[in-house]
């Protein structure tokens, strides 16, 4: 099912959560809504689900205008950020809920629930209550519950946010595989760019209630449309009016064309990469990411002068005022 939203606006008091947002989600795609908190990504998801109503604009699922259709009749499955399990019901009853509401015959309910619990690998926990499950198990239960009604669209709000790192990685892979098998149009919200790039085949970057850019992970990383997208998707240095990825900086011991001298302030070995923290003669601090092999060849030591050249970088019209700063390694997030 194609999801298409047109010119959505949503205001909460004086806060504009969505500002004239239009978006088309391709049939059978796995799309991530990516942005910092307050960017409007969750509001957009909840409006698609019918849990919030837009002030203006429309939502279509397939050929149907569902803008005023209640969530019950939208044919969606929704996984809540904290899973919203029915605490007074067992895992089995949670998953069966949508089917019993639809008054499906008992044998069918039993078959579907059994299959789903096996699919999400919690069949042995069917008689437990949600409070007796771990975070990852609750997440799987919430997914099974949403899938039980065979939704045409699956919507997930920060599905992996509350899980520890290992379980998160595992469930990501699992969601990707599930999507590839079931081909349900899936939209999920995340603030983690790595998660979006890992799982989604289409990423929509949002900021301050607007869509900044959308595209594949590669497109967003290689061809960012704005300074915001460039710095949100991966680390970046600001050198004068150019934005340069730390791995696009060439370091040399001897002077050469287009290279400027900089002082090595610190060399950090991270195993698979080496981070070199640098300071230019005008005091500007930035950093370069090089391979361990490269670091070995250059024999970098603290206090040494190197010559730095940007292999490539981007300039954006109407960039931030000078002094808004280049981004040091501590502000870019991707270690």
């Amino acid at each position: 099912m194609i999801i298409s939203v047109r010119r959505l606006t949503k205001q909460f008091g004086s806060f504009r959560a969505l500002d004239d947002v239009s978006l088309t989600v391709a049939d059978g795609s796995l799309t991530a809504l990516l942005g910092p908190s307050g960017s409007g990504k969750t509001t957009l998801l909840r409006i698609i689900a019918g849990l919030d109503l837009p002030d203006r604009g429309s939502v279509h699922i397939g050929d149907r205008d569902v803008t005023r259709v209640p969530p019950q009749d939208r044919g969606i499955g929704f996984v809540f950020q904290h899973y919203a399990p029915f605490k007074h019901m067992t895992v089995w009853d949670n998953v069966a809920f949508g089917l019993t509401i639809r008054k499906r015959p008992r044998p069918e309910v039993q078959r579907v629930v059994r299959e789903l619990l096996q699919l999400v690998q919690i069949a042995h926990l069917a008689d437990r209550y949600p409070s007796q499950l771990s975070g990852g198990q609750r997440q799987r239960m919430a997914l099974a519950r949403a899938l039980a009604i065979e939704p045409e669209v699956l919507l997930l709000d920060e599905p992996f946010g509350a899980l520890d790192a290992r379980v998160r990685k595992e469930l990501r892979t699992w969601l990707r595989r599930l999507h590839d098998e079931a081909h349900v149009t899936t939209v999920f919200v995340t603030h983690d760019q790595e998660e979006a790039m890992d799982v989604a085949d289409h990423i929509v970057v949002m900021d301050a209630g607007r869509i900044e850019q959308e595209g594949s992970a590669r497109e967003l990383y290689e061809e960012p449309a704005s300074e915001f997208v460039m710095s949100f998707i991966g680390p970046v240095n600001r050198l004068d009016d150019r934005y340069v990825r730390p791995h696009d900086l060439d370091l040399a011991v001897d002077p050469r064309d287009g290279a400027r001298p900089a002082l090595v302030e610190r060399v950090v070995y991270l195993g698979f990469e080496v981070r070199v923290e640098l300071r230019r003669e005008d005091g500007l601090r930035f950093w370069a990411q090089i391979s361990p092999l490269e670091a070995e060849r250059l024999e970098l030591v603290r206090g040494q002068t190197v010559f730095v050249r940007a292999a490539r970088g981007r300039s954006f019209a109407g960039a931030l005022p000078v002094g808004a700063g280049m981004r040091g390694p501590e502000t870019t997030g991707r270690a």
Partner: protein, 289 residues
């Protein structure tokens, strides 16, 4: 080596002192707590029990067989059986409105619900007489229709409804707030209507609040004296409840009669308390909340 032994030797008695101290403190606290409770609660109740059976079982049985006692007992039961369900339904609706809806007068409603807590039952009784009495605001009109409220069971039911109104609301509101709306929204996305969501999700998830509220409402309805005493007129055999019956017997110097009715009332209250304890135990055993 020498040093270490000395240190250990010094440390040991110190540690023993530290350990002994909280033990003594705990015992003292326990003694104070139990002493306070027994002087204040257990002793008087025990005295009533002892006094009741002072002259053996026969006077007690005689008191139980008095028609006035029987009528008071049944009337108390009837009033409770009407007041509790009505206030339970009202309480759940009011709690939902206060927590989930935004409407003008919401905070006023929230404040008014506590009125029976802050007003003395005597004032509640008097105000009901003012409205529903023969010369009252509504009472005259109702009297012309042949409906008597004051000095009759309907007034007593009204008074009991009034004094026991806040319990379910006050017990359900915090639970409703804590549960939040996530589960209800999940039910909507799974296709459940608002009505089915209420029965399948909302009500079960606030059931402990409702149960506590019902128990407290029951206890209050059984034991209400002041408001009921004023609106009932305390007509023996017709508008007496167990509490006013106790007073009537006491003033008539029939101490055994008063004590017997007291004990019946106390046993009903204890049954309520016991059911509360059992339910609470069940709740912790299941671990499903």
């Amino acid at each position: 080596m020498n040093l270490a032994t000395t240190r250990a030797g010094q440390a040991l008695p110190e540690r023993r002192e530290v350990a002994a101290h909280p033990h003594a403190a705990r015992l003292t606290l326990r003694a104070i707590g139990l002493g306070y409770l027994s002087v204040l609660l257990a002793l008087p109740v025990l005295m009533v029990f002892l006094r009741t059976f002072e002259h053996g079982l026969e006077p007690v049985l005689a008191a139980l067989q008095r028609p006035a006692f029987g009528s008071a007992f049944w009337l108390t039961l009837q009033i409770t059986l009407i007041a509790v369900p009505v206030n339970t339904v009202f309480g759940i609706i009011a709690a939902l409105a206060i927590v989930r809806r935004r409407f003008p007068g919401r905070s006023l409603l929230n404040a008014v619900i506590d009125l029976p807590f802050v007003l003395s039952p005597v004032i509640i009784g008097l105000s009901l007489v003012l409205v529903y009495g023969q010369t009252g605001w509504l009472g005259g009109a109702l009297g012309d229709l042949g409906i008597q409220i004051i000095f009759a069971p309907p007034g007593m039911i009204l008074a009991t409804l009034f004094v026991s109104l806040p319990f379910v609301v006050r017990e359900v509101i915090p639970v409703l707030r804590e549960v939040g709306t996530d589960q209800e929204q999940a039910a909507y996305t799974l296709g459940a209507s608002r009505w089915r969501t209420f029965w399948r999700v909302t009500l079960p998830s606030v059931r402990w609040g409702v149960i506590y509220g019902v128990i407290l409402t029951t206890a209050r309805s059984l034991g209400e004296f002041g408001a009921v005493a004023i609106v009932s007129g305390k007509i023996s055999g017709r508008t007496e409840t167990l509490t006013t019956h106790v007073e009537e017997r006491f003033l008539a110097f029939d101490l055994v009669g008063a004590y017997t009715a007291s004990i019946v009332l106390a046993l009903m209250a204890l049954a309520v308390l016991f059911s509360m304890t059992v339910i609470q135990a069940g709740r912790h055993d299941k671990g499903n909340h």
